[in-house]
Structures are given as C-alpha cells and as structure tokens.
C-alpha cells in the first residue's frame, strides 16, 4: 500500500491508481452502485456511487467507481449534499426503470418513491438504464456480441444491427449481471431465447437434461483447454458416475 487518504475522517491505505469505490468498500464504508461489477472496468454510467472528493484545494462531486486515487484525498461518502444528488439520480433512474426491483428499493432508501418525471414510454428495451454492464461483461468474456448503438436519447443496447449474431453464444451472463433485470431470457428444457436468438442446449448424454448452449460449449472447447467430454453430462449424472467410480475403489469385493 503506497498511498494514504482520508475517507470520512478515517485514514485509509491504498495503492496509487486504485479505484476509490473499491478502497472505500474494502475499508468498510458503504457506497451504493448499480453499474459496478468487480469483474469489469468501471465507467461511472449510473451516477449512484457519487462521493465528495477534496484533492488539494478542489472539492468535487464525482463517481467513486472510476476515480483513481493519487493519495492525500479527503473523501466524504455520505452527507446531505451527496444524499440529495444520489436521490435526484435515482429519481431519474426510477423514471427510466420503474419495473426494476433493485432501482425501486435503492430509490426508496434515498426517499424517492414517486418520480416527478413520467415513465419512459416506447423504449427500445424497457427498464434499461444504459449502464452498459452487459456490454462490458460480454467484452470481458471475449464474445463482443453486445454493444451500444447511437447516441443521446436514441442510445440503445443490442446485437450488431439487432439481428441474430454469430458472436452471441447464449451464455446468459448479460442476463445475470443486469442490475434492472431488463434483459429477457427464456429457457425451456431444450433451448434458450435471448436477444431474439434461439440457442439449442447441449443435452446430457445420460438423462437429456440441459447443460449449457451448444454454441457456448463450442466456445469453451475452443478456448478453455478442457477435454470435450467434460461437457457431455449434466451435474447429477456426473455425480452419479463419480460416486460409482469412488465406490469401485472404496469397496473392493
């Protein structure tokens, strides 16, 4: 730890260049966030993690998720001003994502239950707050299927040209990380539909249960270096097989 800073009057150690949100949370301070995920780079899109940072003579209200620490800062993570600013942002977010349980609950914590703004209608993807977590995760995974399109109030997220794409393998990670739950994914016993594309599941060779999508399996075989047959069985059948193998060793009769 090569630098020091003060958060809420407490001296904290950090590495120069670390993100303030990570350091604050590590030190036990709570800062809310929506578009933040440890596995991907922060972009400060949701504006919920705002904190006050005094660096030298300048004090600014900034997103902590992507503020890189220099050392010597005085940070406040909670104050009347910060609460008001977070509340305003949450009010706007709530108007855009009224169907999101997580946004509703966070907004409620900050005293917002009915936004002054009318809910967004005819949205490309209802309840999407354009946090781009899905895009960042898809990129991190190496698929690069999702991206932002357009700018300003016409900005939206989707597959290239909004058509079924080779790059999407149907892994469902975007669905898993989405903070508002706006991405639609439907799994049946045999296939998955997401972003308007249908993906067949690999079916367990013994019992036919779905494992992962065929395309995801193909991607894993190509990139992860494990034998192909690792993906042939569902977890229950793998356990049953393993237990038979252990039994053969444990009871030698």
């Amino acid at each position: 730890m090569d630098v020091k800073l003060r958060i809420n009057e407490v001296e904290v150690e950090a590495q120069k260049g670390e993100y303030l949100l990570d350091v604050a949370r590590r030190a036990g301070f709570e800062i809310p966030s929506l578009c933040h995920h440890e596995a991907v780079k922060p972009i400060g899109s949701c504006r919920v993690c705002l904190v006050e940072v005094k660096a030298g003579k300048k004090t600014s209200l900034t997103t902590s998720c992507n503020y890189t620490i220099e050392g010597g800062e005085e940070v406040t993570t909670d104050s009347g001003l910060i609460r008001r600013m977070r509340a305003i942002n949450l009010e706007l977010l709530l108007a855009r994502a009224p169907g999101s349980k997580r946004v509703r609950e966070l907004a409620q914590e900050y005293g917002v239950s009915r936004p002054r703004f009318p809910p967004v209608e005819d949205s490309w993807l209802p309840n999407c707050i354009l946090c781009e977590l899905c895009v960042r995760v898809c990129e991190e995974l190496g698929h690069n299927a999702l991206s932002t399109q357009g700018r300003g109030d016409e900005k939206k997220i989707g597959l290239p040209f909004n058509k079924p794409a080779e790059s999407c393998v149907g892994c469902g990670s975007c669905y898993s990380v989405c903070p508002t739950g706006c991405i639609l994914m439907k799994d049946t016993a045999v296939d998955r539909t997401i972003w308007g594309q249908k993906f067949d599941f690999v079916r367990c060779k013994q019992c036919g249960a779905p494992v992962i999508t065929e395309k995801h399996r193909a991607f894993a075989i190509e990139n992860k270096g494990l034998p192909e047959n690792y993906y042939d069985l569902c977890e229950s059948c793998k356990q049953a097989d393993a237990s038979k193998r252990f039994a053969a060793v444990a009871w030698q009769d």
């Binding site: 995920h37 992860k224 252990f246």
Partner: protein, 109 residues
C-alpha cells in the same frame, strides 16, 4: 447451512446410492488443478489459503454457468435464481456435514 433454508436441493454435499445399503457422499474435491477455475472467465474461483478450499468470489462471478458444465465430478452448482456459481467452501474450515454426521462417516482432516 449457507442459505439457512434447509433445502435439500441447495445442499453442497449429495449422497448417491451405489448398491444395496451402500452410499457414497460426494462433494467438491477442491481439485489442485481445478477445471472450474480453468474455465472461469473472471477468475472468480480462488483458493482460500487457510482452509485449502476453492471458493467462489460472488462479486467477481458474472453468472455464465461454465464452471457447472466443466466440473468433471458435478460439484459446481449454479444457482439459477441468484445467477451465481455456488460450491462447497468447507464452511470456512469446519464442514457442517462432517460435524453433523451422527455415524462419523465423514471426516475432515
């Protein structure tokens, strides 16, 4: 034990019958060269140096489900509600299963 729910389906140790009156308990083998850790795209599976267990760092997990598909013994689980990988973590060093077993069939050394 982990979710406090007492749900058989959420247990991270399972018992499989392999013959008349013969049962094998199966749970994570905490593999030295773990398939789950190898496929994880975000390095969310990390070794706990105190317990030796491989643990899921839930804040790094992006819910892709590859680990569940890759584990050759069927011991990575994917919680489809939480959209997170879940696995035996030796309960932080004092496995509840071994502690509980009234017949001492499970031993943790």
């Amino acid at each position: 034990m982990h979710s406090g729910a007492g749900l058989l389906g959420r247990s991270r140790i399972k018992v499989h019958p392999v013959g008349p009156e013969r049962f094998v308990q199966v749970t994570c083998l905490q593999c030295v060269e773990a398939a789950c850790a190898q496929v994880c795209p975000t390095q969310a599976l990390v070794r706990n140096p105190d317990t030796g267990a491989l643990e899921v760092n839930a804040s790094r997990c992006i819910g892709c489900g590859l680990c569940e598909a890759a584990c050759p013994f069927g011991h990575m689980h994917f919680d489809t509600e939480l959209r997170l990988a879940v696995k035996c973590d030796l309960c932080g060093g004092r496995p509840a299963c071994a502690t509980f077993c009234p017949h001492n069939a499970l031993e943790w050394r």
